[in-house]
Symmetry: C2
């Protein structure tokens, strides 16, 4: 008995990227308007096909880079979608990835090439194929993750105020959080450094700036600290 790989069916393997962004207020998702068939003119997630010598993580990064010009952004694998007719052209399996990026750091030009636009999560259009399902799964996963692992490093300026951080969490979780409870919680994790500087742009009083303590963060991450919000 021998496994003869040659008689097995091969398939196309696509990678679709759910790119979340945060603009100080709102959680948004980056969508492209397809200027190619099938479904030309419709909105869609950015995607591409896995190449022969590429692992899925690399493909996801490549696709993110193609659209935004960004590099070295952590992307997390979400799920593999395999409905037989999900792509009308040809049988295609899609492994989806998601990430959340700083909305101000993308490359405008690149985005324009793809007719890309940021959409508020409350205002997402109908997407091609099963992309709405992917997006829905991604936001649920992002919320669950946010409650377990602190996020934010990549999504905020190097220095940020507690208020910005809180707004990020509120945008992801889609609920208001109590200011005092939030600060207590974050402080109890002990992974931020409070700076002497203040950010004066948001109020007359100004608010203290913080930065992440990467070292402490890495040490604690090992045990996956649990953050309930």
């Amino acid at each position: 008995m021998l496994n003869d790989y040659s008689k097995e069916d091969k398939v196309l393997l696509a990678v679709d990227c759910i790119i979340f962004g945060f603009d100080n207020d709102d959680l948004k998702v980056l969508l492209i308007q397809r200027n190619f068939e099938p479904e030309k003119g419709k909105w869609s997630l950015m995607g591409g096909f896995l190449k022969k010598n590429e692992v899925l993580d690399e493909a996801a990064s490549r696709i993110l880079n193609t659209l935004t010009g960004m590099n070295e952004i952590y992307m997390e694998q979400l799920y593999s979608f395999s409905e037989v007719d999900r792509d009308p052209v040809e049988r295609t399996i899609s492994t989806s990835y998601y990430t959340i990026i700083n909305i101000e750091k993308y490359n405008e030009e690149l985005i324009e090439n793809y007719n890309a636009r940021w959409f508020s999560m409350s205002n997402v259009p109908h997407l091609i194929f099963d992309h709405n399902i992917m997006l829905d799964k991604a936001i649920k996963r992002l919320r669950r993750r946010t409650s377990i692992n602190p996020i934010g490093f990549e999504l905020l300026p190097e220095m940020f105020t507690m208020r910005q951080l809180q707004k990020l969490y509120e945008a992801i979780l889609d609920k208001k959080l109590d200011k005092r409870n939030f600060i207590n919680k974050i402080n109890s994790m002990d992974i931020l450094i409070k700076l002497d500087e203040k950010d004066m742009t948001s109020s007359t009083k100004g608010s203290y700036l913080y930065k992440f303590d990467r070292e402490k963060y890495d040490k604690k991450k090992v045990n996956n600290f649990y953050l309930k919000l």
Copy 2:
């Protein structure tokens, strides 16, 4: 601009199944000893290739059925593994699925055809390819899931004692639980029906039998009740 699918690389897409079982004491995993190349004679997860007109979930069920004869078992997609050289014969992506079954319900004959054996989790051999990594990811996921969603329906006889249920949780989580706290926790979920019958096999006093209240369970499941153990 048009997407020409024909110039894209196609790949083999495998599905590997992590089949956990529970034998009243121990959490085990079902492995096969390969009687085919590559890696003939070595231990491995049961797997197969996705067929042209099959979705991944179906492939996973088919593979489980081939090995155990079992049907209609819920399998959960775990992760897609894509290292370029993970399979030495040919580029193969593998989407892994896991499940946990009642160890007494499998079909002996089928299992023998595949030289399959149940291994205690504490005693897993070296597996081919990246299968040890898959297994590790699966057990972690199973543990996390167990803390969030009650499991057990499919893994226990229709009627079971609190002690059996506790042992199942202990086997999955790999830690001892307090008897009284466990019962309180389970009761607070309010998804079990306590029967008048007792199971007399495990002690002289006998212990009450319970069964799942499927209706209540389905109602509550919607909100994903949280069970911390």
